[in-house]
Subunit: 322 residues, 2 copies
């Protein structure tokens, strides 16, 4: 019960606008999924107001610097900002160059900005849940914009597309190999493509390549046509153009009714993930199933029976009833 | 029933050594998980004999070329080889430079080698299952070594560590940023680290950096100490050293009894994944749960109730019984 009381007190302080309370609640959410549920139950009705923008791309593409520049731009327009970094290489997570860290400190000293990095080790499911929950918390705290930075290769990119309303894919003009790779996974999820480090001579060629690839995409009349923006985060060029492209995408989502669909999809997949976690926990840990599973695994190890057959056998013990 | 008969016939041809049957069975495994189960049930008792080596690293690190060189090396020792590419940028998957593709064709014309790339779009779970099943199939087909190439950033790297007996992480001497990134995820899973493109002047510095990082790892007496090998896949240098390091790791696994533990862990997680897929399918699609879920999702969308609360409610309908 002591824990519950602490959470109540923290949520009260959170409601009075305490940044310390936000930080502590995030730590609770990160470390303990039971507490996360208590917190979310309490604050959920005040969420889903902030606009969520995801930033993804390969390590070293300059995601953090661009997030910093964009934050400064939005702050000048008096918008409040929450930044969530789900990227082990982000300077927000402490793992980067001195110049980056200094810029980040400048941001964190602004009361209109709340920055938090999430540990990216641990289970995929855990990080995914945590990103959603922390975004909700910053949303309920009243932030206008939530910027989510995530390292975008592999499968995490698919997740950001479910969490963010606008996905910005940040690329650098590089060797053909890497661009090929990025395209493979990232072309499908980007609403806006940024070719960063545009001072590089090959940037315009690379940007055209991306535009060509995008043109091949099967889009119907009225669909969003992804934008390509050239930026130089270091020199602070192209940031306004990027903000304009984001705003255009937001307006498209609102006009086409897609924003509400995206919100619903995210909420549904959170319910689904949470149900599956509970099913796993209860089913595999039940005395009946755990006992049979232990015995049958020996047969699998001895190659007497396939993994599939054992799964089929165990499925029989699942009953659904009031 | 027709499908079952076809599978029987294919498995018979497979047993007689038909490469065409292998290719067709893999297509079945890829496209249809029900058929995959029938196939696996039939061949499972003959699996778990091949040694499985995983190759992971960032796009453009030269994974495919190194897999090619190593395959040639093993073929000269008369070992048979199965290659599985789970990487959209792999030349095995058709997405690469001409020189690579020519090398790959040379491999595929050798009857001692069977090469297959797996579609890497689709659900993470689906690809993961498929990789295991195809590895089993090539194993039962009598291949001595299974080489699995996977793009290693994000979370897929954690999977290769469960599927392969030896994990080779391939890096290139590059900008500090990228190496940081790679380290974050890859340092923990590599049994052997390859610094490829060792003609590059910075290769030795980068290799030393990796060795330094490895030294910080908390290893007990008798634990495997990851090796660092310098290679140049293009110039065919360092390949024998890599093969030696792989052999040393295999001997370590056998002596320390770890190989059997790895095999069991992989088999257990396959049973577990398959059970969870079945639970999800049956639970969420049951009339009772689907009906309530649909209704309660409207309350979630209206912010009346949190995703967690709905998941808790639905959990109540799970019963476990004979």
């Amino acid at each position: 019960m002591r824990m519950e009381i602490d959470i109540d007190k923290l949520v009260e302080e959170f409601e009075r606008g305490s940044r310390v309370a936000v930080a502590r609640l995030i730590t609770l959410i990160e470390n303990d999924s039971d507490s996360a549920q208590v917190v979310l139950d309490r604050i959920f009705s005040r969420t889903q107001k902030a606009y969520r923008i995801g930033f993804t791309g390969p390590p070293g593409a300059g995601k953090s610097t661009l997030v910093y520049r964009l934050s400064k731009y939005y702050r000048a327009l008096d918008k409040t900002i929450g930044i969530i970094a789900v990227d082990p290489t982000s300077p927000f997570s402490g793992g980067a160059l001195l110049g980056d860290r200094i810029r980040m400190q400048e941001l964190t000293s602004d009361p209109g900005v709340f920055v938090r990095s999430l540990a990216s080790r641990g289970s995929l499911g855990g990080i995914s849940r945590c990103t959603d929950d922390v975004a909700d918390l910053l949303d309920a705290f009243g932030k206008d914009l939530i910027l989510i930075e995530t390292v975008g290769v592999g499968q995490s990119e698919l997740e950001i597309a479910e969490k963010a309303h606008t996905v910005v894919v940040i690329l650098v003009p590089e060797s053909g190999d890497s661009i090929q790779a990025m395209k493979a996974g990232l072309m499908e999820i980007g609403d806006i493509f940024v070719m960063n480090k545009a001072d590089h001579s090959s940037a315009e060629v690379a940007a055209r390549e991306i535009e060509d690839t995008l043109r091949l995409k099967d889009t119907s009349e009225g669909d969003w046509r992804p934008r390509v923006v050239l930026t130089s985060a270091i020199e602070n060029r192209g940031v306004e153009e990027l903000a304009t492209a984001i705003e255009e995408h937001r307006e498209y989502l609102l006009t086409a009714g897609v924003l509400e669909k995206k919100r619903r999809k995210n909420l549904y997949s959170r319910v689904r993930e949470n149900i599956l976690e509970r099913l796993e926990e209860r089913f595999l840990n039940s005395e009946l199933v755990a006992g049979i599973l232990k015995k049958r695994m020996e047969d699998v190890y001895a190659l007497k029976v396939s993994p599939y057959r054992v799964a089929r056998e165990l499925e029989q013990y699942l009953k659904i009833d009031i």
